[in-house]
Amino acid sequence: MFSFLQVDTSTVSFNVDLKVFNEGILSKVLYWISDKYIISWKNESDIATITIECKIGSISKNDIDILKERLSQDFIDFKTREIINQETKTIRELLLVKAFSATDDFDEKCLFPMTEELL
């Protein structure tokens, strides 16, 4: 998925299409590698250019392989999480409201036809 450009011995960079992976997703992915790497980020229209610099020493081929594997997995995972979060935002809020509301007197309307007739 990614073509890494080796900038120098401790730095690589890659591009991300923001139409595919938005800024939220990108931030979350980069969060998890920010302990080992210094991250710079430049946007140009819909392409984000990410530059990663190793905090200690140089960046080896093994490091790059690990990074590629991790980032590939994380980009897909966080995209799916974004889909789920977007779609379920209202339900999550509704759940919280229902779980913690003190009284029962809001919206007792049943979703089903049959029960109204019982009393």
């Binding site: 995972d77 789920i84 779609e87 759940l95």
Partner: protein, 464 residues
């Protein structure tokens, strides 16, 4: 086509995803299942479709028909909030008669009486305790070694019992002690007032003594435990251990020592980065602790398979969160955090702290989690702007690194731990040992139960 309900996921290993719904129910499915679900690739005829629908991962309708049921279940998971602060820790003194290498309490010499809490402060603390909305509270005495200030303990218990005639709360009394100093007279008092003992036993003699910094620590503790059992009853004493660097290689020996001394349960406790324990080397320690924990758990399970009932209480806390619809009351694994919401500390110095750890860092003159003075009003303490600030960071649902975590429902938030180890109560998950450790343990337990049904059976018997 189906609708999505809130759930989190993560690869569990190279073969499986773990999917966890909003109330902590989980499914272990082949890698990539989460993506298939989100991309609407699950067919109505599949068994998986039934699993996902029945267990609130997907829904026929946008708002699920059983949303009220799901909300009830969510409420149940957070029901520890109903009682607000229910664990009230009274630090009676900082004096101590041991010299534990990992002491979190920065203990003082056993004769330094100015480190004792004053009676006036005890009165104020007890009054604050009774203002808790909870109908069931725990009054826990700590130190140093609280039995060195036994008169204060007597005073506190007797005062509380009198006041409770009016409040009618259900009060559990716990005394945290090394048992060395307990006289028969004191034990009679404990018996009379139904006070439980929580003691510390690190393992076999050589290990315990090494950790305690005293050559006769083990013998005295065992003798003390035996005396206590004779007077207050075998079941009224529980023990926990602390895993020092030295402890890490002695899984079997520690459990055997517990068995030999008549204990049928243990709490495997890692070192905390507070007090005298702070200067350890954390990276190595944490990796080693995990190995130690897995090995010890294996040994304990072996014993259970042989018919010897022995419970590991730290594991049981996670299991309750993973396997049952109920919540637990363990302050270190809650969201919103246990600090203040579940526990509060009334310190010998007259100040109120958000948690046990909060008063530890105060011994190093860091008052970040001191939330007031015993003479302040209840509202000024519990609803101060300081607490308001802490509240911004005490729910893992809204913290970076936690908000998407598959194990969010099984874990918690700990602003004090974050502050103490990383300098920031918000915390930085990629470097958090709290995160790494909990994740590793939870994954281990999930895979263990999935691959070995006989282990699940034992675990259920611990929880029941």
């Amino acid at each position: 086509m189906y609708h999505l309900l809130p759930f989190r996921f993560e690869p569990l290993n190279d073969h499986y995803d773990i999917l966890v719904n909003e109330v902590g129910d989980y499914l272990i499915e082949p890698l990539g299942t989460a993506h298939q679900i989100a991309n609407r690739e699950i067919n109505e005829n599949e068994e998986l479709f039934k699993d996902l629908t029945a267990n609130f991962f997907i829904s026929e309708t946008k708002t699920p028909a059983l949303i009220d049921n799901l909300a009830s279940r969510y409420r149940t998971k957070k029901s520890f909030l109903d009682s607000f602060t229910s664990l009230h820790i009274f630090v009676l003194t900082l004096r101590c008669n041991q010299n534990c290498i990992y002491c979190q309490a920065s203990s003082r010499d056993k004769n330094a009486k100015q480190s004792d809490i004053s009676s006036t402060d005890l009165d104020l603390a007890i009054n604050l305790m009774f203002m808790s909305p909870s109908t069931a509270i725990t009054m826990e005495f700590q130190g140093g070694e609280p039995t060195l200030a036994f008169e204060k303990l007597k005073y506190a218990v007797e005062k509380t019992e009198i006041l409770n005639k009016e409040f009618e709360k259900h009060i559990t009394y716990v005394l945290c002690t090394n048992c060395i100093n307990l006289t028969s007279l004191q034990l009679s008092f404990l018996k009379e007032h139904n006070i439980l003992i929580s003691t510390s036993l690190d393992g076999p003699e050589f290990l315990h003594n090494q950790n305690r910094g005293k050559t006769d620590g083990y013998q005295n503790t065992i003798k003390g435990i035996q005396n206590a059992r004779d007077i207050i009853g075998h079941d009224r004493i529980s023990a926990l251990m602390t895993t020092s660097n030295e402890s890490l290689n002695f899984s079997k020996e520690i459990i055997d020592a517990y068995l030999q001394n008549g204990f049928s349960e243990i709490f495997l406790r890692a070192l905390n980065p507070y007090g005298l324990a702070k200067d350890n080397i954390w990276d190595d320690y944490n990796t080693c602790f995990l190995s130690f924990y897995f090995k010890t758990l294996d040994y304990i399970l072996e014993l259970n398979f042989k018919g010897i009932r022995f419970v590991e209480n730290f594991t049981t806390l996670f299991l309750k969160k993973i396997l049952t619809p109920f919540c637990i009351g363990f302050v270190d694994l809650q969201s919103p955090a246990g600090i203040i919401n579940s526990v509060v500390v009334y310190n010998y110095d007259g100040y109120v702290y958000a948690s046990d750890e909060s008063r530890m860092i105060a011994e190093n003159n860091d008052y970040s989690f001191q939330i007031g003075h015993l003479s302040d009003s209840y509202n000024d303490i519990f609803f101060s702007s300081k607490v308001g600030e802490i509240a911004q960071v005490w729910s893992n649902e809204s913290l970076a690194g936690c908000s998407d975590c598959a194990f969010q429902a099984y874990c918690g938030a700990d602003p004090v731990r974050n502050y103490s180890t990383q300098g920031d109560p918000y915390g930085y998950r990629p470097k958090s040992f709290f995160c790494k450790r909990n994740k590793a343990i939870i994954k281990h337990l999930l895979l263990l139960m999935d691959e070995h049904p006989e282990v699940l059976k034992v675990f259920k018997s611990w929880i029941k």
